[in-house]
Amino acid sequence: MPRGAIYGLIGPNGAGKTTAIDLIFGMGKNDAGQIRVLGLDHRADEVALKGRAAYVSPDLNFQVWGKVGKAIRFVRGFYPGWDDAYCAALMKAFRLSDADRVATLSFGARTKLSLLLALARRPEVLILDEPTTGLDAVSRQQAFGELLKAVEDGERTVLISSHGLSDIERFADHVGMIKNGKLLLEGRMDEVVDRYRLVEFFTSNGTTFQTPEPEGLIILKWNENRWRALLDQKSAAQAWLQADGAQQISLTPVTLEELFVALVKEEEAE
């Protein structure tokens, strides 16, 4: 992940997104490989890494502290660089109060508390696991607004794991797609999305395009002679289509969601 980027980590349920994030914070043991964040090894430099990184998830539970103010006091004690003024501003923005009982906070408000505790320490790396779960549209905009403010100096890096692909497409500048612990796709958002096109074409005889399709072409659906597919523009698939008798080929830009569905389905088919 390049420093200063907002990186969207996407994948179907059970792909290994949360496991990957957990491993960064030492929750569990990696089977192989190495994890380095800001040049720090996640095991050898555990404390230094956690001092510079923050984690946000709706799974986090703060109820033991009873009240929001006490949870803040507890977390603040770990970070010498804690920004009280920013914390107060975030509390106002998120409509939280020191006296609020954690137990009576709504699900969305608990996510906001988790986000507040992460942002107010001004981390260099912010890791968010499904941060917008339970947030309404306004709160989601607000949360992403704060995130964008946090990274506007270009020094902070954000990793967002989410199923909200439209949010990822709007806010992330890099994207990585994983399935079964394997990285299917990775790169700059504009380059990744621009690389693929939805292609529609006709054939005179439907049986012409039977599997196996050429590399870079994923057939999404067909109806007699009308075909719809995902095309990798870096492959030779377009030339293959023209050579193989496809007619009226039309290319349209692809959304991240369409790309995600096509790639995951292809992986499952394989």
């Binding site: 230094a48 603040r76 770990f78 970070y79 107060a88």
Partner: protein, 454 residues
């Protein structure tokens, strides 16, 4: 309703089967030694075959799963009451008689203790009813009218006192008419209340809208966040804050509980002087202190483990913190109780208490490891019960090995130190290697007790 009950029995079959086997053994025990007390073991079996199991389901959000089923809240509550009170009482009584009958088959010369077995069966109903009342009262929450707040509070307190205090006070209820009457009276009341509580079972958020007397006029909701403010709190934060806030609270709770225990012991006629009385007080006091600290103080912190692990502290320090949350209050309580006992009763008594509190550090530290390793689930509670009672048996064995004298302080201290060191290493290992530790977070907790609301 039948399906709901069958579902409950299927899920808890292993636990109920284990309880059934022990119940059979208890029947044998009562027939073999009719003069001995059975109430404590009856309570323990009722705890693990009754509504306590249901409370685990409730914590895991079973209400959300059953709420959309074509059953009313009343039917769901009644099903669970039948499954956790009525049917277990009948089954336990049958097994109790079966155990005693089997013993009588092999020893026909002995008198078949019908009276004691019948009394034991009735006491079972009382225990199961009290536990059920506590569980169903907790599901109601204390919000709403003052009447609801008061009734929930009173019956929760009564159930809690009956279960926790009853472990000590009602140990020999079958031999004292007053205690027996009190147990049957309070237990009977709680059993009846538990039936009505089950009838009024609330599905939390899934409860259908009932306009009641207020009609259907909509009124604005009171704003909970009207004043948004933040004033940075003075003083330290971090791990010292976590330990100190919990420490003070739990120390006061348990100290009050122990004072009450001492008073109860005095009140029921067991004079404090005397070796048996002191050693019973020391053993029960340390055991209950340990159990209370783990359940009330440690397990809630354990539910935040996922967050604690993301903070800039090493696994080593986190493991030490986890142990300190349990061990520090136990050490302080041991010092307080030993000091108090020494002041009142003199030198040998305070050493007995001190040894007991030193020895209890061994199972307490192992319990910390089990809880961190397995999370806040039924497996943890079973492991905790086995560890606490297992090491109590070890202590008894040691006493027998020393010819009914107390084991020396150095031996207690050595065992405790070894167990603490072992627990520390294992906890650290679990924190570093196990992903299970962080994924099993059974209790999401909502704004209604037992996590039903959300």
């Amino acid at each position: 309703m039948k399906r709901l009950m069958l579902d409950y029995f299927r899920r808890w079959a292993w636990m109920l089967a284990l309880g059934g086997m022990l119940e059979f053994g208890l029947g044998w025990f009562i027939a073999n030694r009719p003069e001995d007390n059975f109430e404590f073991w009856g309570l323990m079996l009722a705890l693990w075959t009754g509504a306590n199991l249901l409370s685990f389901d409730l914590r895991r959000g079973v209400v959300r799963a059953v709420a959309p089923l074509p059953l009313t809240a009343r039917q769901i509550g009644r099903s669970w009451w039948l499954a956790t009170v009525a049917i277990p009482t009948i089954a336990l009584a049958a097994l109790l008689f079966a155990g005693a009958g089997t013993f009588y088959h092999f020893q026909p010369s002995k008198v078949f203790p019908v009276g004691r077995l019948a009394l034991a069966s009735i006491i079972y109903l009382m225990w199961l009813g009290a536990i059920s009342c506590g569980t169903f009262s907790a599901t109601r929450g204390s919000y709403g009218s003052w009447r609801k707040f008061a009734s929930t509070g009173v019956f929760s307190l009564l159930s809690g006192a009956m279960i926790l205090g009853g472990m000590m006070y009602f140990q020999d209820a079958s031999k004292h008419s007053f205690k027996c009457a009190l147990l049957l009276g309070v237990g009977g009341l709680l059993t009846v209340v538990s039936w009505f509580r089950a009838e009024q079972f609330s599905l939390g958020r899934a409860e259908p809208f009932n306009p009641g007397r207020a009609g259907i006029r909509l009124t604005p909701q009171p704003a909970t966040n009207r004043s948004t403010y933040h004033r940075p709190l003075e003083g330290y934060g971090g791990i010292p804050f976590l330990i100190s806030t919990g420490f003070v609270r739990i120390f006061l709770y348990v100290a009050a509980m122990l004072a009450l225990m001492a008073l109860l012991q005095q009140w029921q006629g067991r004079a404090m002087p005397g070796y048996v009385s002191i050693s019973t007080f020391a053993a029960m006091g340390s055991l209950m202190s340990c159990g209370f600290i783990i359940v009330v103080q440690f397990l809630p912190v354990l539910r935040q483990l996922r967050y604690l692990r993301t903070l800039p502290i090493s696994a080593t320090r986190l493991a030490a913190t986890m142990l300190a949350i349990v061990i520090l209050p136990l050490i302080a309580l041991g010092a307080l109780v030993a000091g108090g006992t020494g002041l009142v009763l003199g030198a040998p008594a305070d050493l007995t208490v001190l040894k007991s509190y030193t020895f209890i550090l061994a199972p307490a530290s192992l319990c910390v490891f089990f809880a961190v390793w397995r999370g806040d689930g039924i497996q943890t509670y079973v492991l905790l019960a086995i560890t606490l009672f297992g090491l109590q048996l070890v202590q008894l064995r040691l006493q027998m090995a020393f010819h009914y004298l107390e084991p020396p302080f150095s031996l207690c201290g050595t065992i405790a130190a070894i167990c603490i060191l072992l627990a520390f290493l294992l906890t650290r290992c679990a924190l570093m290697r196990s992903s299970h530790t962080y994924r099993v977070q059974a209790n999401p907790f909502g704004n209604i007790a037992l996590g039903m609301g959300r």
